[in-house]
């Protein structure tokens, strides 16, 4: 798991770091500034949900302009997330050798604020353009991949930094990447970015990875503690059979929301299930994507059925294996017959290898053991515990 330490410091507008005094490599200083590098050309996911303005003059942390990004969270392409990569040359997904050797830098700094406060950036990435859509290594892969997030913004400029100490920056094509998630954003949001640059900090030490428990798969729809994404709909026909509401407000077990799942057999496939994956749609082809959850002894969750009696054949942790980088293990319980009231369940993880988990949670069932018209059930508080 990449849990990077981030320090932030609330700055008054206008008090910026003087680039001239430091060794810096700018991604964005001001519109058309000659020191800018990388191009925000790599639009991903629900790209139709994004509006991008890199010469915003209404808000700026320093200089004359900032970047304004509006994320509508409408899921225009049905992905539930959207993002932009700043690439070393336009639309370079690893096919051209235009990346920079940034050896000697150990820190990425950026400033950000929200329009109103409360806006969520799901992830900031440095590097990570390594595989194509087929999961094959690209010709010129980034030499590092560092993720940070999520971040909840305020309506004031804050400076953030990502610790890159000890990372290999010898080839950086994806200099900066920002990702939003519709569940976390909940609604349209506007965020601003400014003064994005690499620098060197002699006091920065290499990050030691540490996982804190409980480690949530799902707490509430908008919780920044959530990990994994319910992107693995199974089988291919599942979109006809499933409706997933991750922000169901009626009678959650705790907090503001729970998950509601409606399952019918419209496709005739007779079975369905959903994997919570990291990152979304990772069936095992993406390197360095698994969370290290060693130390957890169980996964607990709460579930209930709309009527009681609904049968879920299997609840599972791990077990994704369709690629070079599979889950390090799997564990499951089932079948489980749900009750009408919330009930806690537990998957025993003792003796399991949890060093690399990409499939944080999964359920699967079939129509033959259930009401032929379908079932509705609810989940909440899904978490790994010590």
């Amino acid at each position: 798991m990449k849990k990077l330490f981030i320090g932030f410091l609330v700055l008054s507008v206008g008090i910026g770091i003087t680039a001239a005094q430091e060794k810096t490599f700018y991604i964005y200083k001001d519109k058309n500034n000659p020191s800018n590098h990388f191009i925000p050309s790599g639009w991903m996911g629900d790209y139709g949900d994004l509006k991008f303005n890199d010469q915003c003059t209404q808000e700026k942390a320093s200089g004359s302009t900032s970047i304004k990004i509006t994320y509508t969270a409408k899921k225009s392409q049905g992905q539930g997330w959207a993002g932009i990569y700043w690439q070393s040359s336009a639309n370079n997904w690893g096919q051209r050798q235009s990346g920079y050797d940034l050896t000697g830098f150990n820190k990425l700094v950026f400033k950000a604020k929200g329009e109103n406060g409360g806006e969520v950036i799901t992830k900031i990435k440095v590097g990570g353009i390594r595989r194509n859509a087929q999961g094959e290594l690209v010709t010129y892969p980034d030499s590092l991949e560092v993720d940070y997030g999520p971040i909840k913004l305020t309506d004031e400029w804050q400076e953030f930094y990502i610790n890159l100490a000890g990372k290999d920056l010898s080839y950086v094509n994806g200099g900066f990447c920002i990702v939003f998630n519709a569940d976390q954003a909940q609604k349209e949001q506007v965020i601003y970015l400014d003064d994005v640059y690499f620098t060197y900090d002699p006091n920065l030490k290499e990050e030691v990875k540490k996982t804190n428990f409980p480690f949530y798969v799902y707490a509430d729809a908008d919780s920044l503690d959530n990990h994994f994404c319910p992107s693995g709909w199974m089988p291919a026909t599942a979109a006809q059979d499933l409706k997933l509401y991750t922000n169901w407000k009626e009678n959650p077990l705790s907090g503001s929301s729970c998950i509601r799942i409606e399952y019918t057999n419209k496709s005739g496939t007779r079975w369905a299930g959903i994997y919570w994956q990291n990152p979304p749609n990772n069936w095992g082809s993406i390197p360095n994507a698994g969370f290290d959850l060693r130390g957890a002894t169980k996964l607990t969750f709460w579930a209930k059925g709309e009527r009681g009696g609904e049968i879920i054949n299997e609840f599972k942790v791990g077990g994704i294996s369709s690629g070079e980088y599979p889950d390090s293990d799997s564990a499951s319980i089932g079948p489980v017959q749900l009750t009408k009231e919330w009930k806690k369940y537990e998957i025993d993880l003792r003796g399991k290898d949890l060093s690399y988990i990409i499939g944080g949670f999964c359920w699967a069932t079939n129509i033959d053991v259930n009401d032929p018209h379908g079932i509705i059930f609810y989940l909440d508080e899904i978490k790994f515990e010590k």
Binding site: S285, I320, S321, G323, G334, P335, Q337, G351, D353
Partner: protein, 404 residues
């Protein structure tokens, strides 16, 4: 059953090793556990790594009812030679139920005398019977036990016998994935998952009962519990007192992941990977791919070896029996006899761990008729059997086995 505990002190190494001898006959089979928790299988006093293959050499045109032991062409005479050349030292037979046991004896004897190849004899414990087996049914249990013990009695004195394996993937019946069975006692349990665990308890108790009876007749060969993956082994650990080895069936792609450590945690016994492998057909590209099969088997065997005491003091694995010797042309449409002469290219099931062809239609990527490391041709050889065409994986295994 006689159990002897021996304590050896390896003074020159300065290490004290404690060995628990599971079987007493020094000239036969013993399994010893070292102080690091590793297991070593000894045959006639020498460490023995099971470099095995599953053997069911169904000729082209024959099917599930093929009786190997009555086959006048005796394919094992020819195959045994090829196996020996490749360093294979064990064959695993799924079942010899219903066969003429005198002929089975002869098969075991010939393979051993001619090629020093041992035989592991298994029994399905009724898994594929119709009607489905009911392990809660007293009569079924008695009948099955009687049949297994008849086999053990008849074959136990053959020098070529290595081990008995009880069941295969019978644990998949607990949840009803295959061959569902139940009883009024089970149905009274309100919690569905507890019903599954109750079935496990009933089944494993039954296996243990047979294992105990086998030991009364034959204390010299280990008795293994066949199990599909690791599911329910925690239940087995609680009820099985007479099981010596876990014979695990595992298709996890290139590597076995945490399989060995997990079994150590659930039911700390020596592990035989009794079924593993890879087919040689790429269902996505719709063409034969011997390279991929060889690559997967290479990684799988390396992982097995890494988990034996030959390479790692803590190793719990005593070897593997690869699925399988030759392609079997009847398996895709097993009920359609005309198809038994066709080498079907259609895949029958899906396994994402074999991701090279998982993008095949409906994700069906496992080609059951292409798991052999030896291909068959319709042409017959001088022994009257289908000509053998060793695949790349055969030569790869030969290289690995002869090196180890």
């Amino acid at each position: 059953m006689r159990k002897i505990k021996k304590v050896f002190k390896a003074g020159s190494l300065g290490v004290c090793l404690i060995f628990f001898s599971l079987f007493s006959q020094a000239k036969q089979m013993t399994i010893e556990r070292n102080s690091a928790g590793g297991y070593t299988f000894f045959v006639k006093g020498r460490p023995f790594l099971i470099k095995g293959i599953i053997y069911n050499p169904t000729p082209i045109g024959s099917g599930y009812d093929y009786d190997l032991f009555s086959d006048p062409t005796k394919p094992w005479i020819f195959d045994g030679k090829l196996m020996k050349e490749a360093g294979i030292n064990t064959v695993r037979i799924y079942s010899c139920r219903g066969a003429d046991l005198r002929k089975v004896k002869k098969f075991i004897r010939e393979l051993y005398k001619k090629y020093k190849i041992y035989t592991i004899i298994g029994d399905w414990l009724g898994l594929w019977d119709r009607p489905c087996p009911n392990y809660a049914d007293k009569e079924f249990r008695q009948y099955t036990k009687k049949k297994v013990l008849e086999i053990v009695k008849a074959l136990k004195d053959e020098e070529g016998i290595l081990m008995w394996v009880l069941g295969n993937e019978n644990n998949y019946t607990f949840s009803g994935k295959i061959a569902f069975w139940t009883s009024p006692e089970i149905e009274e349990i309100p919690d569905l998952y507890e019903r599954v665990r109750k079935r496990a308890q009933i089944y494993y108790s039954f296996v243990d009962e047979i294992a105990g009876e086998i030991k009364k007749i034959d204390p010299y060969h280990p008795v293994a519990l066949g199990n599909g993956e690791v599911s329910m082994l925690d239940v087995a650990a609680k009820v099985c007192k007479n099981i010596d080895v876990i014979a695990v069936i595992s298709y996890r792609g290139k590597r076995f992941g945490n399989l060995f450590e997990n079994i150590r945690y659930l039911f700390d016994k020596p592990v035989l990977v009794s079924e593993f492998g890879c087919d040689s057909y790429d269902a996505y590209k719709d063409k034969e791919d011997q390279d991929v099969q060889a690559e997967y088997i290479k990684f799988q065997w390396e992982d097995i070896l890494k988990n034996t005491t030959f390479k790692n003091e803590k190793g719990t694995c005593i070897g593997g029996t690869l699925f399988e010797w030759n392609d079997e042309w009847w398996k895709h449409n097993e009920g359609y006899t005309s198809d038994w002469s066709v080498h079907n290219r259609q895949a029958g099931w899906s396994n994402g761990s074999y991701y090279f062809d998982i993008k095949a239609k409906d994700n069906l990527n496992m080609n059951e008729e292409w798991f052999g490391i030896v291909g068959l041709s319709k042409e017959k050889n001088e022994y009257g059997i289908n000509k053998r065409a060793p695949k790349k994986s055969y030569y790869l295994l030969k290289e690995i086995f002869l090196k180890n």
